[in-house]
């Protein structure tokens, strides 16, 4: 709309009140998005960059790949009629819509990134080639390398599933019973020991490090 066609005139001085109000809307969206993201990724593992738009990721094999920021966006519209009638209930409704959409986009991006990374190194398991989801899970577990947290404690991998798939997997676990559970437990323990040992080897590279 050309400035001359814009019917809005405003009137009177309100200092920074308007800017602050809009900024708080943005802050609320950001805070809620942070909370949603923290459900998937620990805040300690969220990196923040002040400059640039790309970063290099060093791979275990010595190579490196370039990654960059991806933009998530959501477009909503505020009806002027809502303002005129002072329907403030649209504020939380709009905030929720933005947060939901942003979280959805973030989650989709994260799964896509993980899938792309696994595909690139061939570390994937096709569940359809197994008799049951539980056996596919077992195969996946075998292929995984566990990590440790900042205190050196082994951390188990996360399993992200939709509700229906999760229920099917649980049923399948129950069907296979204790033998499968024992097998999983055995592999898990072994992977944890390997993770701890790998971490110790890494730490020994520090000159001042001593094994506990």
């Amino acid at each position: 709309m050309a400035a001359s066609d814009d019917p809005r005139r405003g009137g009177f001085s309100f200092g920074q009140l308007g800017e602050e109000f809009d900024e708080e809307f943005t802050n609320t969206v950001r805070n809620l998005c942070d909370i949603e993201r923290a459900k998937i990724i620990s805040p300690e593992n969220v990196a923040h960059y002040s400059h640039g738009h790309q970063w290099l990721e060093l791979e275990p094999q010595g190579g490196m790949t370039k990654s960059g920021f991806e933009t998530h966006s959501h477009e909503g519209s505020l009806q002027l009629e809502d303002i005129r009638l002072h329907r403030i209930e649209v504020i939380p409704r709009h905030v929720t819509a933005v947060v939901t959409e942003m979280s959805k986009q973030f989650t989709q991006m994260m799964y896509a990134e993980v899938a792309e990374g696994a595909d690139a190194v061939g570390n994937t398991v096709d569940a359809k080639q197994f008799e049951s989801p539980a056996l596919a899970f077992l195969e996946g577990l075998k292929r995984l390398e566990f990590g440790v947290d900042r205190q050196g404690n082994p951390s188990r991998p996360q399993l992200h599933l939709g509700q229906a798939a999760l229920e099917a997997l649980q049923r399948d676990f129950e069907k296979h019973g204790k033998p499968l559970q024992d097998k999983i437990e055995e592999i898990t323990k072994q992977k944890e020991r390997e993770a701890v040992e790998r971490n110790k080897s890494r730490l020994r590279r520090f000159k001042g490090y001593k094994d506990a």
Binding site: P7, R9, L17, I83
Partner: protein, 654 residues
Amino acid sequence: MRSCLVIGSATYESDDLDELLGAKTDADNVYAVLTDPKLGAYDSSSAKLIDPTLEEVRDALAKFVLSSPPPDVFTFYFAGHGDVNGGTFYMLLRNSRIGQLSRTALGITEVFSLVNEGQPQQVNIVIDACRAGGLVFDLTQAIKAESLGAHISPNISLLATADIAQAAEETQEGGIATTALVRAIRGDDATPSTASYLDLVTLGTHVAARMAEAGVAQAPIVWGLNLTGLSRFALNPHAAKSVVPLIGTMTGAAASSPIAQQLEGRRDHLWRLYLDLGQGVDLGQLSGELETAMGLLDSEAGQASDFILGLSYSLPPRARASGEPFANAEVLAACAASLVKVGKKDPKAATAIEDIAKRFVAAVDAEMAALELPLLNNWRALLSRPSGYRDFVLLPLRISKLLGYMAAAEVVAEAHGIVRISGECTAANILQRLLTDFEGSFVCLSDQQAAYLSVFFASPICLRHQPEAEQIFGLMFADFIARGGRVLATQFTGSSAFQYCWALATETPMPATVQLAVPTTLLAVLLTASVRLNNEDAVDPYLHFLDHHGTNIYIPEDISEFMRPSIPNGVNVTLSVGAEHGLGIFTVADFRSAFTKYCSSALEKLNSDISPNERIAATLACMAQPDRILWPTFQPVPPVETAKGFAVDGATDG
């Protein structure tokens, strides 16, 4: 001593510079009106130079500005070619060369430097040249300097007749802008001012309006701040006869004004304030600075009134530059309100309040007239620019403020017998439109609205439009009940306003960071309005919804303190809805009784001490600092119409 140096640069030695048909005529006309004893009243020792060289102008400038003692008023006028080079504006003279401006033309910075060195008490600079607005660059540079203020005269006004990218139009009879200026000085064309002297800012604003009306594609730039009183560019042919000379006599003022000396330490702050006004009015900052500066002046000698009156002419045009409608009215309200402090001891205060208050009415009327048609055509006219979520807060506040300013203008107009051509009719139309289109926005957000509503419900407009006033009252009271009486305190940030709206919308507890008005003044205002509108019966059935709710009535001890940011003396009378003992309010009648019992004596004492002009200034104080209510003019008593206005409790307001 009043000196002027008038330059008409019509012909040039360089073939690159065309002859200017009207420059000589302009200089002749300006010099004639300025040296006319009944118009400009500049001394006969003033000078006019036609087609001078750079050296001749430099000599003349030095002679006038560096004379001892320096002139009380020095006016520099230039008509000729102008250009901007390297961020500096140059005036071209007979021997100037394009491409060698810094060596052969007169830079505006050179004029500033001489002025700063000579320190005339008041300086006016008028430039009718192409790209004259370029001088604003230089001025901004000077003001950014570390020694802000020290390098700028305490009183300087500028009129550049064309913006930096524009040509100054002229005919054989002279430049369009200068012709308009001369007509105004001669009195052929009246400015809105009725003061004894015309200042250049008022004249410049007038010239700009005339040029806009004539459709001339040339936007003059007007700039000026006068700290020592109203600038005396020329006598005002349309001065009100009752207005006494404001600062001494025309020639008798001391070269170094006592006001300027007293304000030396505040000069930087005042310049900063002036500059910031172009970005928007911060009424708290403005009122605070006026209060501080006035504290340095000798009120009994009339210095405070001179100072405020001068500012009241300088600041509104700058505020208008912010583009925010009503900004100039807000500044005028703050200026008039500040004088309540010296109303009793400053001999010129009453006159100054009257002068400013009248211009306040004109400003409100002009803004309402400008709003009326756009608002009738499109309700969005009241939205912010840019709008968005912020308007959930700004729109209701803006509507309350509009009601307050509309009503304050009525109060002032009635007190001073001002005949308004269309103000009342415009107000009625806007009021109708507000109720038709913004029913949902008559909501109670903050105690800030209490001040505006108190002036509205106390004003004649409320009685003239009783059905509309009742409707507004009904909407506001219903909303107050709906939000359980929870409204924001008078001062709040946009962040807490958002959290407040969020908590209400999500029905979650109010965060501790949100400062609510406890007790609230808004309830006392609404209850008082219900009495004045005879709506008590409609309120009583709903009061139980406000059980335990507190309301406050603050009455100052001395009206001279009424504009202080925080008023130190006085009493807060806090009444509680449904309190078992003491001041409990169960009906509006209880509120009336409690008000009479606990407030009347303090109000009577205060009322007996307020002059009509102080009452006007205090009313405008409620507009400028909306955390105070002028309870003497707004008591829970049904008003009775008298021949003189509306009488309440023995006092006549208006």
